[in-house]
């Protein structure tokens, strides 16, 4: 492994993040605060407790997931799409690095940024609601795995995208709906049975459920299933990336 190269890519990407730190943080903090005001205070006051947790606190894990998933995807996809777009990819392709090292650098940086924002949102949440974390270790593990797996997905999207519209397309058309319908703002058990069944085909349900379990100790689906879901998703992304690596798809002519 060319660790020096991984480190160089990682630091270069992180530098971009810190250069625009204010922009990177203001938007997620602001939107989270708005969610708390609207859903937590305004509407939430009329919603009874869910599984013994106030509605304001109940949406915290889902909100974190929403931001983390969005950030991981957009950072990773932009991170690798940008060099393709402005042509600096020539340097990556001609460097003594293999694809795994390129992935490690870009995905590692994107996952770090997403993690950073996830933590900021958690801190923001403490200002609005009382949040307790029942299983801190599991919480951290879920957070890390989510950052990582969705950064991998973002990397794939960035390689695939041929223009900026396509870069936005997948997050907009696929990921955001899946997260909203994945129980970020409600418990699956609150849905009619038909919709419950449909929801179980949504992979994000397992993530949010597992993450919420780490906070409050109760879940929509068994925790083991949640773990398997995220492990399976990570493995699938790695397989696709391995295939891209082998064929040079969309990167090497």
């Amino acid at each position: 492994m060319n660790w020096t190269a991984i480190r160089a890519i990682y630091l270069f990407e992180m530098a971009r993040f810190f250069r625009t730190l204010a922009q990177s943080l203001i938007s997620p903090v602001l939107s989270t605060s708005l969610y708390f005001v609207v859903f937590g205070a305004a509407i939430g006051s009329r919603i009874q407790e869910i599984e013994g947790v106030s509605y304001g606190a109940f949406i915290v894990p889902g909100l974190i997931m929403l931001s983390v998933i969005t950030q991981a995807i957009s950072n990773a996809s932009f991170g690798i799409y940008f060099p393709k777009f402005i042509g600096t990819i020539y340097e990556l392709l001609s460097a003594p690095v293999n694809f795994l090292e390129i992935v490690a650098g870009y995905v590692g940086a994107a996952a770090t940024k997403a993690l950073f924002i996830g933590i900021i949102i958690l801190i923001t949440a403490f200002f609005f609601v009382d949040v307790t974390i029942a299983h801190p270790l599991a919480m951290v593990a879920f957070l890390l795995l989510t950052c990582l797996s969705f950064a991998l997905l973002g990397f794939i999207i960035g390689i695939w995208a041929g223009n900026f519209e396509q870069l936005q397309l997948v997050p907009l058309l696929v990921v955001t709906p899946l997260v909203f319908l994945g129980g970020a703002f409600y418990s699956i058990s609150m849905l009619p049975p038909v919709w419950q069944t449909i929801s179980y085909f949504n992979p994000v349900v397992y993530l949010i459920s597992g993450f919420r379990w780490a906070f409050f100790g109760s879940a929509d689906v068994p925790i083991a299933l949640s773990l398997m879901a995220i492990a399976g998703f990570t493995a699938a992304c790695l397989l696709v990336i391995g295939w891209i690596f082998k064929t040079g798809w969309r990167i090497r002519q």
Partner: protein
């Protein structure tokens, strides 16, 4: 000596089936400057991209310093620096950071002294904290060179380094190349400016339509193909070439005031002595005598022209 670059029967067809390289073979010894001369679309960039790993060859092999570029890609690529034809840089990044990044990407541990030396060498030190977008086009090209040199390569590719660059910067660039050569770096540069190849290369390769037509020592090339012309300028204009001089195949130009004689510099007898004697015996009065050598440009145009005639 082991060649620093050894290309054997390299072919490249792009996805659309277009064959951009049709079996190129080339050996380059360490320390030389070789210019690949060819018109736009000849395949120069494709050749460089394939050696550097940006595109994959359809067939053929390439070794850099004895390391196969596929099997032993890390060792091979560590030796190569590439200055691409297009100015591809991150506009918001600072000069010194992009150079540090390049060094790290190529697996070299951070070395601020080495980075400073390179930036100074390229007159970029004062601009090191500028964002790339604040630099002029010529400065950006220097940044590209600095990035390519950041990991101390042994083989440097310069893909049309002076295209669209003003005269002054072009001269600077040549000096930089000379300096690198003095440090023992092997340089392959592509250009479609003949004068560039003529000014700085040790060897010249002519490439057209994906084929390397020839590679030759610049001096040899010019001597072999270089005809010299002798202009005999006369005091009084002539109507026709005098009968006595017919055997010299002279042409009369400049309103009959100049007789031009072509000869081969490498022939045993150039015939100059006889010609001048016959000229004076014919009663002509000389005003001046001038010799001219064909430039690489003449040679190049001749070669590409021959090639076109052969294929049509």
């Amino acid at each position: 000596m082991q060649p620093i670059l050894d290309i054997a029967d390299l072919r490249k067809s792009y996805g659309d089936g277009f064959e951009a390289l049709k079996g190129v073979s080339l050996r380059i010894e360490p320390g030389e400057i070789i210019a690949l001369l060819g018109p736009n679309g000849a395949g120069k960039t494709t050749l460089i991209s394939t050696v550097c790993g940006i595109t994959t060859a359809t067939s053929g092999t390439v070794a850099v310093g004895g390391h196969d570029i596929i099997r032993d890609f890390r060792a091979a690529r560590s030796m190569i620096g590439l200055v691409p034809q297009e100015i591809n840089l991150e506009p918001f990044e600072r000069v010194i950071n992009t150079v540090r990044f390049s060094r790290g990407l190529f697996g070299k541990s951070p070395d601020e002294a080495a980075i400073e030396k390179i930036l100074r060498q390229l007159s970029l030190w004062d601009k090191r904290n500028n964002q790339i977008r604040e630099l002029s086009g010529g400065m950006k090209r220097r940044v590209l060179i600095a990035k390519a040199l950041s990991h101390e390569p042994r083989l440097l590719f310069l893909d049309e380094p002076t295209a669209g660059v003003d005269v002054e910067l072009r001269k600077d660039m040549w000096e930089i190349v000379e300096g690198l050569k003095a440090d023992g770096v092997t340089i392959v540069l592509t250009t479609h400016y003949i004068e560039e190849a003529e000014a700085i290369a040790d060897r010249v390769g002519v490439i057209a339509k994906g084929e390397l037509l020839l590679v030759e020592d610049k001096a040899d090339l010019m001597a072999r193909m270089g005809q010299k012309q002798l202009d005999v300028q006369l005091s009084a204009p002539l109507e026709d070439v005098p009968e006595a001089l017919a055997k010299y195949d002279l042409t009369l130009c400049e309103g009959g005031r100049t007789l031009t004689y072509s000869y081969d510099t490498r022939a045993d007898r150039t015939g100059i002595t006889k010609l001048l004697r016959d000229v004076s015996e014919a009663g002509l009065v000389l005003r001046d005598v001038v010799t001219r050598q064909s430039s690489l440009e003449d040679i190049f145009v001749g070669l590409v022209h021959e090639e076109e005639e052969a294929t049509s």
